[in-house]
């Protein structure tokens, strides 16, 4: 696999994967593969997760009670595990989103004056 291409993509910050999963599940229950696809698709393929790393994250969220898992069948009739956001997970998503906004805002604020300095 071309290493060059990989380098253009942004590596996920620690913990952001949890946030992305929760966000994805707001739209409704999904199985693992669909979650991976959704994250890739919604970020225009900028965020590329090694799909395997989804599983430790999913299990972590289940353990914390933020999502639940149930058996189901996929669109092409395969047996698959579906993950569903719990009420607790929904609250957590709000908390995490606020946190993320704050962080992103703070970082932007730090970076902006530097840009202005460049212009002047």
């Amino acid at each position: 696999m071309s290493t060059k291409e990989q380098r253009k993509r942004i590596e996920l910050l620690q913990g952001t994967l949890d946030l992305l999963i929760l966000r994805t599940l707001v739209l409704g229950p999904a199985h693992g593969h669909a979650i991976a696809k959704a994250i890739e698709f919604n970020s225009d393929d900028v965020l590329q997760v090694e799909q395997g790393s989804l599983y430790p994250a999913l299990h972590r969220l289940i353990k914390r009670g933020w999502i639940s898992a149930e058996e189901g069948t996929s669109e092409n009739n395969r047996r698959a595990k579906f993950y569903r956001l719990t009420a607790k997970g929904r609250r957590q998503l709000a908390v995490e989103t606020t946190k993320w906004d704050k962080l992103a805002g703070a970082i932007a604020q730090i970076l902006r004056p530097a840009e202005q300095g460049d212009k002047s």
Binding site: H31, G52, S53, P56, H59, K81
Partner: protein, 890 residues
């Protein structure tokens, strides 16, 4: 957890489905089924690792891993027993030395004293800075003053040490015992509870009503057979009846060895003079008062006393002052510098041991690179591999710690036997829980420390590379060798540091032994006698006794001369007092306002019999010695030492000058009782070989001193022609022939006293030398290890060289040069470090500068020789490389 188990059970299936879906997607995008599957696999990542990490989310997996790592580690270590044994032994030596020294530091310096709330206890002292008395006992009036002004102190109590008494009983021969006296509140204040009976009551601590006694545990056992019904039994001390009230605990001591305790029985209405300083004062700070405040109140009190009693404290501003020292500091403070230096030394030894084991591990790591690479390829995360390596080194560290504990147990026992008997708190040294925690911590830290080196190495290197190169067996040898060389250089530098420290102590000790004490120590027997006041009430019988005894002792065959002195050099007994001068022109010393403004100075004072100087062979420098004619009816005379003569009359006109220590009895106004200086003798090192001590003055034993007419406590000094210990019994017989109830005590040859006085420096020296040798050996092993490794790695190169015509000598030279480079670097770094660090041990040195060139030079030579010796075997092996075999090896 059930949820977790179910999730994990399904995981395989989930992953399979996931990859299947991705494959399907890829096929739909037009890939061939095979490519589609590969792409899906790649995109998914390392399945094994994903499973590992997912499982980790759930369980106490780390425990599982730990157990697995430990099992694996033990297996790996068992597979290379030679390596494991070498590493564990090296670590055990380092950790053992640390544990042993720490157990001493812990018991002596760290642990609080075994008194109730001991951190709040202080000793209170006076001082007369300008008289040259930096620390002085407290007098009775000062003690009462302290009790009246104890704003900062919850309690103030006093005791006196250094008393002697003859203990006589009907059913046993008399024994000489050391006797301490105390106010009734000292023992309860310290929280000391007698093991039998009780403490003194306040009623028993009254003037004229104080004939009660508390026995030490040792005396109770040795003289009374540990009789549990001892309380209220009568004993005789110096012929007076005393009643036993109890037995003190075994460990109890207030400094030194006391056989028994009696009440002080101070009389506030009739105190001794303000100038008679003999009380130890111990006080407890009030809970809300800190030591700075308390010290300030003492300074204030001292100022008030100076103003109130100018006659006692002099008009000199700020001569007299009071201060306090925490009780623990008082007891063990003098041991701190030596202990900290030793602790530093063992830490360095441990660092060297660590470097050695790290070196061993690195050598092994190169051999294990392939194994690690394969495990990484099979899905072991890098953290997991590092953890595995760390587990192994921690196992080694713990095993080393365990064996180190055994070594420390022996070490501490040996240490207890070696330390001078008067060392405080040594009986408290043991491998207690604190020490065990320390050892455990050190073992873990050690394991972590030397384990991090190869782990860091592993993390830095690309394992794929290792896998592809492992077959050639030379993969990262260059880098490893580099790292290993630095480890060895550090080892050598540390060893140099320790060698310099040990060398400096050896040189100091030799200097110390070279010091002439001012008398001839060989063939000299000494013993003390204390004449009880009851049978020897005043001067005449005391003088008669000693005159008779010395005359009788001199007739013993093999005895050349016999004298006696009130305080023998190097015997831990001393006294000093003010001497004033008739010559008022002596500059720069304080004056006595209540005695004609005469100049005075604190001087060591002795009473001596006429033959004392001959017996000790203290040389006469000018004038004459004391003689038989110097009795009460003759002119009062004195002999001074050379330091005294030089200080006060540098021009040398000392003979015939008059000095005084007291006034003519009942004279009004007080008139000095003058004594004429008739001779000058050599200065004697009274306190220790490395302490110059005060100026000295000797008075004839047969002339009156203060109120006392001839001191009752005297030490015999007997010069013999043969081994001095052979005449002990003969002398004892002569004593008993005059007084059956008078046992001599503290019987020792002067050589023994000298040896005791240097016991502490000798012990410091022995320990530091032992650690330095250990360090040197470990460092030599390190040099050998790295050179041997380098030679093995380069067998091929040496083969080519030999094939191209290099002689074995050339090869030999090359290896030596490389070893020499390491040694030179280590030596240089070590010497620089030594120049900085040995200043910290300046207080342990005597007559040697911390940067003594002789020591540094010798250390350099020793290190160079040892390093070259360590290179010899690898070098010879390199020189003997057979080019044919070496080239085929490739």
């Amino acid at each position: 957890m059930r949820l977790g188990k179910r999730m994990i059970d399904d995981l395989d299936q989930d992953i399979r489905e996931h990859i299947e879906m991705e494959t399907q997607d890829n096929i739909e995008r037009g890939m061939s089924p095979e490519d589609a599957r590969h792409a899906a696999m790649r995109k998914f990542g390392n399945v094994t690792r994903v499973k590992e990490e997912t499982r980790e989310v759930w369980s106490f997996l780390w425990i599982e891993h730990l157990l697995q790592d430990i099992r694996f580690g033990v297996r790996m270590l068992r597979r290379s027993p030679g390596f494991a044994a070498a590493a564990i032994l090296t670590l055990a030596l380092g950790i053992g030395a640390n544990t042993a020294i720490f157990s001493v530091v812990n018991a002596v310096l760290l642990r609080p004293l075994a008194y109730r709330d001991s951190p709040s206890l202080v000793n209170i002292w006076g001082k007369f800075a300008k008289d040259g008395i930096p620390q002085n006992w407290i007098s009775e009036p000062e003690y009462w003053d302290l009790l009246d002004h104890k704003e900062s102190f919850a309690q103030v109590a006093a005791y006196a040490l250094g008393g002697r008494a003859n203990l006589t009983r009907v059913d046993a021969p008399p024994v000489q015992v050391s006797e301490a006296s105390t106010t009734a509140d000292v023992l309860p204040m310290l929280g000391i509870v007698p093991v039998v009976g009780r403490n003194f009551s306040v009623e028993e601590d009254q003037p004229g009503h104080s004939h009660y006694v508390l026995l030490s545990y040792a005396l109770w056992e040795s003289q009374f057979g540990g009789d549990p019904n001892i309380v209220a039994k009568p004993i005789q001390l110096d012929g007076e009846a005393y009643s036993i009230v109890g037995v003190l605990p075994k460990q109890f001591s207030l400094g030194g060895k006391q056989d028994l305790w009696v009440p002080l029985g101070l009389d506030k209405a009739k105190p001794q003079s303000r100038g008679s300083h003999y009380l130890h004062v111990v006080a407890r700070l009030k809970p809300n008062v800190n030591s700075v405040q308390a010290a300030a109140t003492l300074v204030t009190l001292a100022g008030d006393l100076r103003r109130a009693y100018p006659g006692s404290y002099g008009p000199e501003s700020k001569n007299f002052d009071m201060f306090m020292v925490p009780v623990k500091e008082q007891l063990v403070g003098r041991l701190r510098p030596a202990l900290l230096v030793l602790l530093g030394a063992v830490v360095f030894v441990l660092l060297i041991a660590c470097a050695n084991v790290a070196n061993l591990l690195l050598a092994r790591a190169s051999a294990r690179e392939k194994e690690l690479a394969i495990r990484a390829a099979m899905g072991a995360g890098r953290t997991r591999l590092v953890r595995q390596l760390l587990t192994e080194s921690l196992l080694l560290g713990l095993a080393g710690g365990l064996l180190g504990l055994v070594l420390a147990y022996w070490g501490v026992n040996a240490l207890r036997a070696l330390v001078p008997p008067n060392t405080p708190r040594m009986d408290e040294v043991q491998l207690d829980s604190m020490v065990l925690v320390f050892t455990f911590g050190v073992s873990l830290l050690t394991g972590l420390f030397f384990g991090l080196v190869p782990s860091w190495h592993l993390a830095k290197n690309d394992l794929r590379e290792a896998l592809s190169e492992a077959g050639r067996g030379t993969s990262v040898s260059g880098k490893t060798l580099h790292l290993r060389s630095w480890l060895v250089v550090s080892e050598l530098a540390l060893a140099v540091l320790l060698l310099v420290g040990a060398g400096l102590l050896i040189r100091s000790f030799n200097r110390l032994l070279d010091v002439s004490p001012g008398f001839q120590t060989q063939h000299l027997l000494t013993m003390e006698l204390s004449l009880p006041e009851k049978t020897y009430p005043d001067g005449a019988p005391v003088q008669k006794f000693f005159t008779e005894l010395l005359a009788s002792v001199k007739t013993v065959p093999g005895i050349e001369s016999a004298g006696a002195v009130s305080q023998l050099p190097l015997s831990d007994s001393y006294t000093s007092g003010s001497v004033f001068f008739e010559d008022t022109s002596i500059p720069d010393i304080p004056r006595l306002p209540n005695l004609g403004n005469l100049p005075y100075m604190e001087i060591d004072q002795r009473a001596a019999t006429s033959e004392y100087f001959q017996a000790m062979q203290i040389p006469l420098v000018r004038g004459r010695l004391l003689n038989e004619a110097d009795d009460a009816s003759a002119l009062l005379v004195a002999v001074v030492d050379t330091n005294f003569a030089h200080r006060f009359w540098p021009q040398g006109d000392v003979i015939g000058r008059r000095v005084g220590i007291d006034t003519i009895p009942n004279s009004n106004p007080p008139t000095p009782r003058w004594r004429t200086i008739v001779g000058v003798v050599g200065h004697v090192k009274h306190y220790a070989l490395d302490v110059e001590g005060r100026e000295q003055i000797y008075f004839p034993h047969r002339q009156p001193l203060f109120g006392v007419f001839a001191p009752r406590d005297m030490t015999l000094a007997v010069r013999t022609s043969q081994d001095p210990s052979t005449v002990t019994n003969a002398i004892r017989e002569r004593i008993f022939a005059i007084d059956k109830g008078l046992p001599p005590y503290n019987i020792a040859t002067m050589d023994q006293l000298v040896s005791t006085s240097v016991a502490q420096p000798r012990l410091n020296l022995s320990l530091l030398v032992a650690f330095a040798v250990l360090a040197l050996v470990l460092a030599a092993v390190g040099v050998y290890g790295v050179m041997a490794y380098a030679v093995t790695q380069r067998t091929h190169e040496f083969g080519i060289r030999t094939a191209l015509g290099a002689s074995p000598t050339d090869v030999l030279k090359q290896v030596f040069l490389e070893g020499g480079r390491l040694a030179a670097l280590g030596l240089a770094l070590g010497l620089i470090a030594a120049l900085v660090l040995t200043r910290l041990m300046a207080s342990l040195l005597f007559g040697v500068s911390p940067s003594d060139p002789m020591t540094l030079g010798l250390v350099a030579v020793i290190l160079a020789l040892v390093a070259l010796a360590a290179c010899y075997i690898p070098a010879r092996r390199a020189a003997r490389v057979d080019p044919v075999i070496a080239l085929r090896y490739e």
